[in-house]
Symmetry: C2
Subunit: 335 residues, 2 copies
């Protein structure tokens, strides 16, 4: 990928609020499997961040940590190449967050575009948990503590990168140091996968996603329940391709894009039935998911947690080294 | 003191933003010297809290840590009885703070009486550092992490105790645990010592305080520059006792209150000069401060820091034990 060198350090991750789905697969997982061969890659399971809005459902967060690790391994992320770790197991993140919180005003935090969107999305109203307001700062700590050089994300995450670098520069200026690193967005161009119901986003919370861990039958049923074109009643009727979920998934997963284009033409004209297309998509997804499901079934809960705990231990050494420099820079070293 | 048992645990402390002065002596230090014989007492030097508003003057905070330790030892706080420690050396405080931040809304934080007052006092305007807004939560972590049962403070700190207990109850309810402890205010009835300029409060930042580390000459000069009654020109004139700094200090430090009352009567009637009173006060303060100054001079910087670092190590074990329970309660334990 452009802009990456072998010395680059990638930080990425997921909130463990549910198992991963095909949206993650096309949006980030495939990319991570490629990137792990190019440079150092760290994947953080952001349980502390998930707790900023799932604070009253901690079990849900905690139980999904192992599920997410299983998903990673199942798609081909190799713990020998990529370090998978758990955010809460790195207490140095909290220390750095607290120091960075002094360098940003609450007014600025409230204007952060990421926060504004998320607050609307979660309908907190006046009841924004303080931890949630602070999470962009926590995110800046996540990135900088491990000296990441690149964060892979979509264009919509550009403000998050800018906020992080703003804090890094503020820290450097205030404490006359250069111990942290500015970070770059590693732009991912994959379009967002829509939900099986036609909703703009496939997401755990909307329940409109095909999970990597779904059984063959569940995948089949989800494919055959997909939203297509409600006015396309008979196979002979002309149909709409735009907003048609089956085509969106064929675009994302069918290996031959030209064939998909020819199907689109027939569908528009009339003469190609939904059932035929859904069968093709089902075959495609089953072929993709079968080896993932099989690999996933071989990973025990304990093994998954062991991988993440070993990764956390490794990341903690890096965290401690950075925090040592951070504390020196601030001056809070007394012996 | 009422309400204390030998099993009680007191947490108290100071922000290391300057050496301690006579206001601290009457307001808290004397009390601490007494309390250390009654139960377990922890004194925290709150460098992290000081950094929430002194973030751009970290040297000032860091350099004052040893000064404050010297002041403690000089007035008779015994490190064998009282554990003196440094907030920044207990990273578990940051972890607990982050978890507690999820349990309070920003709207509630902004309504905290302590925060409202302090924001006005510091004239932050719209530029309230996020760390500053979060500090009541950080304070709740300071108190609860060490399982303190009592915090000695004036009535004005009652809301801080209430905020802390509110968070403890919220944590217990949310995570179905009782691993933290609610805390009680140990009401200190000492009136606040006014400044030598007549300002309502003797404070480091106003430069109107007599420091425990002031030389004999500085103490003398401060006493003789004290604000009295500007209309009391000649000794024979009747003078005002109210708002008269010399009488406020005699009330606080002269060992015989009845004698002070008789001087007040003479002063009101006329016939008692400021110089006579100031000489008496100077003698009183010099007698009080001489042994403190001498003791203080025997303590090296390195020794002071060693005491605080040893104390921090001891407090860290307590912190780790509590955090272990806190993490268990939230569920973020993966091995």
């Amino acid at each position: 990928m452009e802009g990456l060198e072998s010395s680059s350090v990638i930080l990425t991750g997921d909130r463990p609020t549910g198992p991963l789905h095909l949206g993650h697969f096309v949006g980030s997982l495939q990319n991570r499997v490629r990137l792990q061969h190019q440079c150092q890659q760290y994947i953080m399971i952001a349980d502390m961040q998930a707790l900023t809005d799932y604070f009253d459902r901690p079990k849900h967060v905690v139980q999904n940590v192992a599920e997410v690790v299983k998903d990673y391994i199942a798609v081909g992320i190799d713990p020998e190449k990529t370090t998978i770790f758990i955010q809460s197991q790195i207490p140095e993140l909290c220390e750095l967050t607290m120091l960075l919180l002094n360098l940003v005003t609450t007014a600025r935090l409230q204007r952060y575009p990421t926060i504004k969107n998320e607050i609307q999305l979660r309908a907190f109203g006046e009841s924004i948990p303080a931890g949630f307001l602070c999470y962009p700062v926590s995110q800046a700590a996540d990135i900088t503590l491990f000296r990441a050089t690149h964060v892979p994300a979509g264009e919509d995450q550009a403000p998050m990168i800018e906020q992080t670098n703003e804090l890094v520069r503020r820290f450097h200026y205030t404490y006359q140091t250069d111990c942290l690193r500015e970070v770059e967005l590693l732009l991912s161009k994959t379009p967002r996968l829509i939900g099986i119901d036609g909703n703009a986003k496939a997401s755990k919370s909307l329940g409109n996603a095909i999970f990597l861990s779904d059984s063959e039958k569940v995948v089949h049923d989800k494919v055959f329940s997909m939203y297509t074109d409600p006015e396309h009643i008979r196979a002979s009727d002309p149909g709409k391709v735009e907003g048609n979920v089956v085509f969106a998934y064929l675009d994302a997963f069918y290996p031959d894009p030209e064939e998909v284009e020819s199907w689109k033409a027939s569908y528009r004209k009339g003469g190609l039935g939904d059932m035929v297309l859904k069968t093709r998509l089902n075959d495609t997804l089953q072929a993709l998911l079968k080896p993932i499901r099989e690999k996933r079934a071989t990973i025990q809960q304990a093994e998954a947690l062991e991988i993440a705990c070993a990764g956390s231990q490794k990341m903690r050494s890096i965290a401690q080294a950075t925090m040592e420099e951070v504390r020196q820079a601030v001056g809070i070293v007394y012996r």
